[in-house]
Symmetry: C2
Subunit: 231 residues, 2 copies
């Protein structure tokens, strides 16, 4: 069995890039490390992948141990294997990313002594990061900037019921540009995958906006046509 051939073994870890959206800002979840190397530094939640688990299972487990978060759908981003990315030798890491609805908790409780705390940081203002994690976050940002144009990831960052202005702010935060309100609404509503609710925003000191829901089924129906190209 290959696992006996130690010269053909690699050190292999997984890192999680978890994005959230709050106060009009895109945020990323960082942990404060309690282990060498990079003890006391901020880093992405990440750890070794065990023999007995798939990579998907590993990132799920690692995220839970480092942040207490569970059942988060993560997607693979890229695998990094530069010789110098880890001070103690060549460590290959596979990065996963996810988008999350924030619910007010700005600090999360780790279930592991390897990290002290997990805190949301605005992507526009990150501390210095361990390893090549700044680079990994940059790559994740590129990825979600691409994806937001072709997939409904924006809705993963919002509560179930949201206003069109909130939705627009997500697009603006991720793309880093200002969008035209009328054009944005026209376009979104034309897609026909938003369900207008009979409810309005609560507790605002100005005209309350209508609430909408994202309709996954309609979205799937519309974009199953992904495969039906025109000539």
């Amino acid at each position: 069995m290959y696992s006996k051939l130690t010269h053909l073994q690699s050190t292999f870890t997984a890192d999680c890039v978890i994005f959230g959206f709050e106060e009009g800002e895109l945020k990323v979840l960082l942990v404060e490390r309690n282990e060498y190397p990079y003890k006391d530094w901020w880093a992405l939640p990440g750890f070794f992948v065990e023999h007995s688990e798939t990579i998907d299972n590993a990132v799920e487990r690692i995220l839970y141990e480092h942040t207490g978060l569970r059942n988060i759908f993560m997607e693979q981003l890229y695998t990094f294997g530069d010789l110098k990315r880890h001070p103690q030798g060549r460590v290959i890491t596979v990065a996963y990313y996810a988008l999350l609805r924030l619910k007010g908790q700005s600090t999360l409780k780790p279930h592991s002594t390897y990290v002290r705390q997990a805190v949301w940081h605005p992507v526009e203002n990150l501390p210095e990061l361990a390893f090549d994690h700044a680079h990994i976050i940059d790559r994740s940002l590129e990825k979600i900037r691409q994806n937001i144009k072709s997939t409904p990831i924006a809705f993963e960052l919002l509560p179930e019921k949201f206003t069109l202005t909130q939705l627009q702010k997500v697009y603006e935060a991720i793309l880093g540009i200002a969008l035209d309100k009328r054009n944005f609404r026209k376009k979104m509503l034309n897609y026909n995958f938003l369900k207008e609710l009979d409810e309005k925003q609560q507790g605002v000191s100005y005209r309350a906006a209508k609430l909408y829901k994202f309709d996954k089924r309609k979205y799937a129906k519309i974009f199953q046509n992904d495969l039906s190209f025109k000539k």
Copy 2:
């Protein structure tokens, strides 16, 4: 150093999905294995990643040893780590893909005894493959189908000088659909990154078509605007 912690070591390999285009068909390069497991089966060129090399270096080396090909620009596709993908235990593999100009050689000489020969196979008619390699090829195909719509990968499959019909055939082979000749030409020429040459096709028994070149510089200039969004 981590490499001493054997329980935290993983078996890690790299596989190469190399596409080519010939006779109006998309082809993929497969090797006939001369090693267990899956001795005598067709498989993707792939092998262990060593401690001392980056992943990019590893795929370059492995491709050379298995096929004799060198200096091929490959891009990372995805990392696969299912528990059952390898009969001898959990082996993580990172897959890379590349697109190549074929030059007539349908069989390539391996520089390694691990494989017997490397042969181009039409993607529409593949033999049964070792491991999860059929799945990896499917994923690569999805990727290039996406990429061909937004990047100039089609030109990597063609000779330097090509006709518009040849170019159209590449798009049709990858997308798997028939395209309208007039619309295709109009669109391609409108992009302004094709340079019309003063040469024509040679040796055909019908009206010879004009030859074109892909102009990388113009392409880069036009699509640097990638970042300049409109409101």
